[in-house]
C-alpha cells in the first residue's frame, strides 16, 4: 500500500435520493473541517423528495472540495466519484476527471437498475470497458452491509439503510480520517434507538476496515490541514449563517426578532434553524401564505420588533405589495430571498441569481429598496447583519439576497465573538416627545420611530401618500413629488453609511476587472488567483451592496478598459451598471441551475485579456 500526499481533493457522492447521500456528504464535510482542511461543498438534490428509485431524476449528489490550500469552490472536476447505483454513475460520470477513481456499489448495477437508468441489460458499464479511463473500485455494499449485520435483529430494510455508513467508512480510510466525529454524531442521532445506533457504527467501522484489508484500494491519501488565518473555526452552511446573523442583529439592536415565513425551497432551513432558538426570544411564525408572512412581520415591526421574512423568488412576487407598504410606512423590515432557478416555479432545488432586478425594481410606484447580497456561506452572517443594520438605522425595508448554492453550501468559518460585533442604533423617539412628527427626518432623511405603548406619540400610518412631516393623508401633487424624491434620497443617502468598494485581488492598473456579486465569488476568486499567479493582468471586486452602490464604485470601475460581469442569470447586474454609469461592461452568463466552474471564468478572462 502506498501513501500519497495531495493538496486538494474533490469527491462527489451520488445515489438515490433515499440513500442518505446528503448525510454522508455532510458527515465527511464536518470531519474534514474539524481536521483543519479548508473546504467548500455543494449539495445537488432533485426537487422530488423520493423520485422513482434508480432513475436519473432521483439522483441526489453532494460535492466537496477540501484541501491543505485555500479552497473557494466545490471544485470543477472530481477526483473521486462515489456511486450507489448506475443512474448515479450515468448522471455524474462527466464530472470525473480522466484517471479519477470511482467507488461503485455493484448492487446498484443489476438488471433492474440498468433498465431504470436507461441501459440495455447487456450494456452494463462495469463490464463493457467504457470506464477504462478511470480507476474503478467495485464492491457490493448491500451484501457487505447485510453480512456485517447478520446477527442483528433489525429488518432487512433497516439494515440496508446503514449502507451509506459503509461508504463513509471506506472513504474515511482512503483519506486517513478519524471516525470519532461521525460516531459522536450517530450517538446523538440515535440515542433513543440503541440497535440502530449499534448497526450504523458497526457498518461504518466495517467500511473502514474493508478498505484497509481488501486490495481494491491500494492508495491512501493524505490531505494536510490548510494554512488558514489563525483563530477559532467552525463549519457553517449559508442558511445557518443567515439565521445566526439575524439573531446577532436582534441582540446588537436590542430589538426582539420576529421571523414570519412560509415554507419554500431553498429558504425553509432558516425557519427551521430559528425555531430552534426560542431561548433567544425569537418569535418564529409559520404563516398561512407568503403574504401573511410578510404582513405579520410588518405588524411586528410596527410594534417595535425586528421583522424578518424569508422566501425565494415566487414568494417575493407575492410579497410585492406588502414590501411597498413597508417602504411607505418607513419601518425596519428585512426580506431574505434565497434565490433559485426561475421563472415561476422554475428549478426549485437549483441555484440562480435571477431575482436581482426583482429586488431592485419589483414594486408598483417609485419604491427603491436597499439590496445587500452575500457571496459565500459564511458571508451570509455578516451580510444579513448589514441588511438588518441598514433596515433599522435607516428605517426601511431591505432585501438580503442569498441563493441555493451558498444557502446549502458549507465552508469553514472564522467565527467572531459577540464583543467584536457592531452595535445597531435604533432611531427610537422618546415618550411624550411634544415635538414628535411621524415623518420629520434627520440629516440622513430618516424619520423617528414611535411604537405603540409610547404615550403622547399616538399617530396613524398607512399606504396612502403622506403629507410631509405630519404623515397625514395628502393628495397634493407637489407634496407627492416631494415625498417620492425624499424617499429616494433617503435610500441613496445610505451610500454614505456603507464601506467603499475594495479590490478583492489584483491591482488598479490591471487590464481586466471582474465585477461580481453573490455566490459567484468562489469561482471568480479561484480563477483570478490562478491567473495572477500565471502573470495575467486581472483584478477582482465583489459587490455586497447593490442598492445603493458604494460611492466609489464608478471611479473604481472606470479605471479599467474591460469590465467582465459573470452572473448566473441572463444579465442583471450588468443592466444596473450600464444604466447607472454608462459603462459598457461585458456580460458572462450561465443559466443552467448550477454555479460557474472556475475554469469557465478563467477561460473567459484569458480571451478578454488576450483579445483586442
Amino acid at each position: 500500500m502506498t501513501k500519497e500526499t495531495v493538496e486538494k481533493v474533490v469527491i462527489f457522492f451520488a445515489g438515490d435520493s433515499g440513500d442518505g447521500i446528503q448525510l454522508t456528504g455532510s458527515q465527511f464535510t464536518n470531519t474534514a473541517a474539524l481536521y483543519g482542511n479548508d473546504l467548500s461543498t455543494f449539495p445537488d438534490f432533485p426537487a422530488e423528495i423520493r423520485a422513482p428509485q434508480g432513475t436519473l431524476a432521483g439522483v441526489s449528489g453532494f460535492q466537496i472540495s477540501f484541501g491543505s490550500t485555500e479552497i473557494f469552490t466545490p471544485g470543477d472536476e472530481c477526483d473521486v466519484l462515489v456511486v450507489m447505483n448506475v443512474a448515479a454513475l450515468k448522471a455524474n460520470i462527466n464530472r470525473l476527471k480522466k484517471g479519477g477513481a470511482i467507488i461503485v456499489n455493484t448492487d446498484g448495477f443489476d438488471k433492474r437498475n440498468l433498465k431504470l437508468a436507461g441501459f440495455d441489460e447487456d450494456k452494463n458499464p462495469l463490464l463493457d470497458n467504457s470506464l477504462s479511463d478511470y480507476r474503478v473500485n467495485e464492491m457490493n455494499i448491500i451484501k457487505l452491509t447485510r453480512e456485517c449485520l447478520v446477527d442483528v435483529s433489525l429488518g432487512v430494510k433497516e439494515k440496508d439503510r446503514c449502507k451509506n455508513m459503509f461508504v463513509l467508512g471506506f472513504v474515511y480510510w482512503m483519506y486517513n480520517r478519524s471516525l470519532d466525529h461521525t460516531i459522536e454524531f450517530l450517538n446523538q442521532k440515535f440515542k433513543n434507538k440503541p440497535d440502530v445506533l449499534d448497526a450504523n457504527i458497526r457498518v461504518l467501522k466495517a467500511g473502514y476496515n474493508f478498505a484497509n484489508t481488501c486490495e481494491i484500494s491500494s492508495t491512501r491519501f493524505e490531505v494536510k490541514p490548510a494554512k488558514m488565518a489563525l483563530g477559532n473555526y467552525r463549519n457553517i452552511m449559508g442558511n445557518q449563517a443567515t439565521a445566526i446573523g439575524l439573531i446577532a442583529a436582534s441582540q446588537m439592536s436590542g430589538l426582539d426578532l420576529f421571523y414570519g415565513s412560509y415554507p419554500i425551497t431553498p429558504a425553509s432551513d432558516i425557519l427551521h434553524e430559528l425555531a430552534k432558538h426560542k431561548n433567544f426570544g425569537v418569535r418564529s411564525f409559520q404563516a398561512e401564505d407568503e403574504i401573511a408572512a410578510i404582513s405579520a412581520c410588518i405588524g411586528a415591526s410596527f410594534g417595535g420588533a425586528l421583522g424578518v421574512t424569508a422566501t425565494s423568488g415566487p414568494g417575493i412576487a407575492l410579497k410585492g405589495e406588502a414590501i411597498g407598504l413597508a417602504f411607505m410606512l418607513e419601518i425596519p423590515l428585512v426580506i431574505v430571498n434565497v434565490q433559485r432557478g426561475g421563472p415561476s416555479t422554475g428549478l426549485p432545488t437549483k441555484t440562480e441569481q435571477s431575482d436581482l432586478l426583482q429586488a431592485v425594481y419589483g414594486r408598483n410606484g417609485e419604491a427603491p429598496v436597499p439590496v445587500v447580497s452575500a457571496s459565500t456561506p459564511s458571508d451570509c452572517f455578516e451580510s444579513v447583519m448589514e441588511a438588518c443594520r441598514i433596515a433599522i438605522e435607516h428605517m426601511t425595508p431591505v432585501f438580503f439576497l442569498s441563493d441555493g448554492y451558498i444557502a446549502n453550501g458549507a465552508e469553514p468559518w472564522l467565527y467572531p465573538q459577540s464583543k467584536d460585533l457592531k452595535k445597531i442604533s435604533v432611531p427610537m423617539s422618546k415618550v411624550n416627545n411634544t415635538d414628535y412628527l411621524p415623518y420629520k427626518r434627520n440629516e440622513k432623511f430618516v424619520r423617528e420611530w414611535a411604537i405603540p405603548g409610547m404615550s403622547g406619540l399616538e399617530h396613524r400610518v398607512g399606504g396612502l401618500e403622506k403629507e410631509n412631516l405630519t404623515g397625514n393623508v395628502s393628495y397634493d401633487s407637489n407634496n407627492h413629488e416631494f415625498m417620492v424624491k425624499t424617499r429616494a434620497k433617503k435610500v441613496d443617502e445610505i451610500a454614505n453609511y456603507i464601506p467603499n468598494q475594495e479590490l478583492d485581488a489584483g491591482s488598479k492598473n490591471a487590464k481586466v476587472l471582474v465585477l461580481g456579486w453573490g455566490s459567484t465569488y468562489g469561482a471568480i476568486k479561484t480563477a483570478v488567483k490562478e491567473l495572477l499567479n500565471e502573470g495575467y493582468s486581472v483584478a477582482h471586486t465583489h459587490l455586497r451592496y447593490i442598492n445603493p452602490f458604494p460611492k466609489n464604485l464608478e471611479s473604481l470601475i472606470r479605471k479599467y478598459d474591460k469590465v467582465l460581469i459573470p452572473e448566473i442569470n441572463n444579465g442583471q447586474l450588468i443592466k444596473l451598471i450600464r444604466d447607472k454609469y454608462v459603462v459598457d461592461a461585458i456580460p458572462m452568463n450561465k443559466i443552467q441551475g448550477i454555479p460557474f466552474e472556475a475554469r469557465e471564468i478563467k477561460n473567459q478572462i484569458i480571451e478578454l485579456h488576450d483579445g483586442e
Binding site: N30, A33, Y35, G36, H181, P225, M228, L230, G231, N232, Y233, R234, N235, I244, I247, Q251, D256, F258, G260, H277, K278, N279, F280, G281, V282, R283, F285, A287, E288, D289, I291, A292, S295, A296, C297, I298, G299, F302, G303, G304, A305, L325, L329, Y415, Q417, S418, I451, P452, G453, M454, S455, G456, E458, H459, R460, V461, G462, G463, N472, V473
Partner: protein, 333 residues
C-alpha cells in the same frame, strides 16, 4: 378597571371624517369612540389596524396608534403585531370585500389561531370605495355595475364561515342600534381570543336599504331576533313568537300555542346550536343579533410566549457567543 380620565372625545383624531353623508360608518365610529374610555386601556396601548375599503379609513379618525394597511391583510398584520406585543389592545377594522374576498385566507387563519384581537367586520354587502360592484356577501341575482344581469355568485354566510373556522367569539350587531352595538363592542373587548363582530352597515349610496327590513320600525320586530344568554328565543311585534328545536330542526312557533319553557334557550357556549343560529339566514327566519358563540381557548400569543419561557427554562437564556461557536470547533494557532 375603568379609566376615568378619558371621554369619547379623547379618541377623536384631528382628521376630518370623510365618509359619504348618511353612511352607517359614522354611527359605528361614534360607538367605538364612546366605548374606548370604558375598556380601561391607556390609549397609547390601543392600536387600530385596517385593510382597504371605505370602512378601512377608520383608524385615521381614532386618536390611538393606527395603521391603514393594504387590501385584505389587516388580519395578518394584526397577528404579527399581537405576537410581538401581546400587551396591546388590537382592533381590526375590515369590510366584507376586505375580509371575505381578498383577505379571506387570513381571516380564517386568524380565527383558528385565536390571537386576542377584536375584528369589526363592517358588512354592507357591496363594494363602496370602488363605486358599487357586488361583494361576496351580496345576495344572488344582485344587479350592479359589474353584474348588469344579476350576480350568479352564491354569497358567503360570514358567521357560518367563522364558526366553521373554529372562531372562539362570534357576534352580530348593526349600525342603526347604537345601544346594542356598544354592548357588543364591550363583549368583543372582554373576550380573550379573537372576537369576530359582524356589523350590518348601510351604504346609502350604493346599496341603500340592504338591511331595511331589520331596521325599519314596521318590520324589524318580526325580522330580527336578539340573542341573550340563557334566555329563550323570542321575537315578534308583541314578543309573541318563539323558536323551538325539534331535534336539530328549528321551528317558529306562536307563544299562543307554546309556553316559554318549550322554546330553545340560547347557550353561548354551545357550538352546535351556534352553528344552527348562523343558518338563520333566509327570509323564513328572523336574523339573529347578539353573541352567537363564545368559548375559552388559549390564545396563540400566550402559547408563543410560553414556548419562549420553556425554552429559556430548559436551555437558559440564549448566549450569543455559544451560538456563534456552535458545537464543533477547531483552532488554528
Amino acid at each position: 378597571m375603568e379609566n376615568k380620565e378619558y371621554t369619547a372625545k379623547d379618541f377623536s383624531s384631528d382628521q376630518e371624517v370623510r365618509w359619504c353623508p348618511g353612511c352607517g360608518d359614522y354611527s359605528i365610529l361614534k360607538q367605538v369612540q364612546s366605548v374606548m374610555p370604558l375598556i380601561g386601556v391607556p390609549k397609547e396601548n390601543i392600536v387600530f389596524i385596517s385593510g382597504i375599503g371605505c370602512s378601512s379609513r377608520f383608524p385615521y379618525y381614532m386618536e390611538t396608534f393606527g395603521m391603514h394597511s393594504i387590501h385584505g391583510r389587516a388580519t395578518a398584520i394584526a397577528s404579527g403585531l399581537k405576537a410581538a406585543r401581546p400587551d396591546l389592545s388590537v382592533w381590526i377594522i375590515t369590510g366584507d370585500g376586505d375580509s371575505l374576498s381578498i383577505g379571506g385566507n387570513h381571516l380564517i387563519h386568524l380565527l383558528r389561531r385565536n390571537f386576542d384581537t377584536n375584528i369589526l367586520l363592517f358588512n354592507n354587502q357591496i363594494y363602496g370605495l370602488t363605486k358599487g360592484q357586488y361583494s361576496p356577501t351580496s345576495e344572488k341575482g344582485k344587479k350592479t355595475k359589474s353584474t348588469p344581469m344579476g350576480s350568479i355568485d352564491h354569497p358567503f354566510n360570514p358567521l357560518a364561515l367563522c364558526i366553521g373556522a373554529d372562531a372562539t367569539f362570534v357576534a352580530r350587531s348593526m349600525d342603526r342600534d347604537p345601544k346594542h352595538l356598544r354592548e357588543m363592542l364591550i363583549r368583543s373587548n372582554d373576550h380573550k381570543g379573537t372576537s369576530l363582530l359582524e356589523i350590518y352597515q348601510n351604504c346609502n349610496v350604493f346599496n341603500d336599504g340592504a338591511f331595511f327590513g331589520m331596521t325599519d320600525k314596521a318590520t324589524k320586530m318580526n325580522q330580527t331576533l336578539f340573542l341573550e344568554n340563557k334566555k329563550p328565543l323570542v321575537f315578534g311585534e308583541n314578543k309573541d313568537k318563539g323558536i323551538r328545536l325539534e331535534g336539530f330542526k328549528p321551528v317558529i312557533v306562536s307563544l299562543n300555542d307554546f309556553s316559554l319553557e318549550d322554546l330553545w334557550v340560547h347557550d353561548e357556549n354551545d357550538r352546535v346550536k351556534a352553528g344552527l343560529l348562523t343558518r338563520f339566514f333566509d327570509a323564513d327566519f328572523p336574523r339573529p343579533f347578539g353573541v352567537f358563540y363564545c368559548e375559552k381557548r388559549p390564545t396563540y400569543e400566550d402559547a408563543l410566549v410560553q414556548q419562549i419561557e420553556d425554552a429559556i427554562e430548559v436551555k437558559d437564556k440564549g448566549d450569543l457567543d455559544s451560538l456563534l461557536k456552535g458545537s464543533n470547533t477547531w483552532t488554528i494557532d
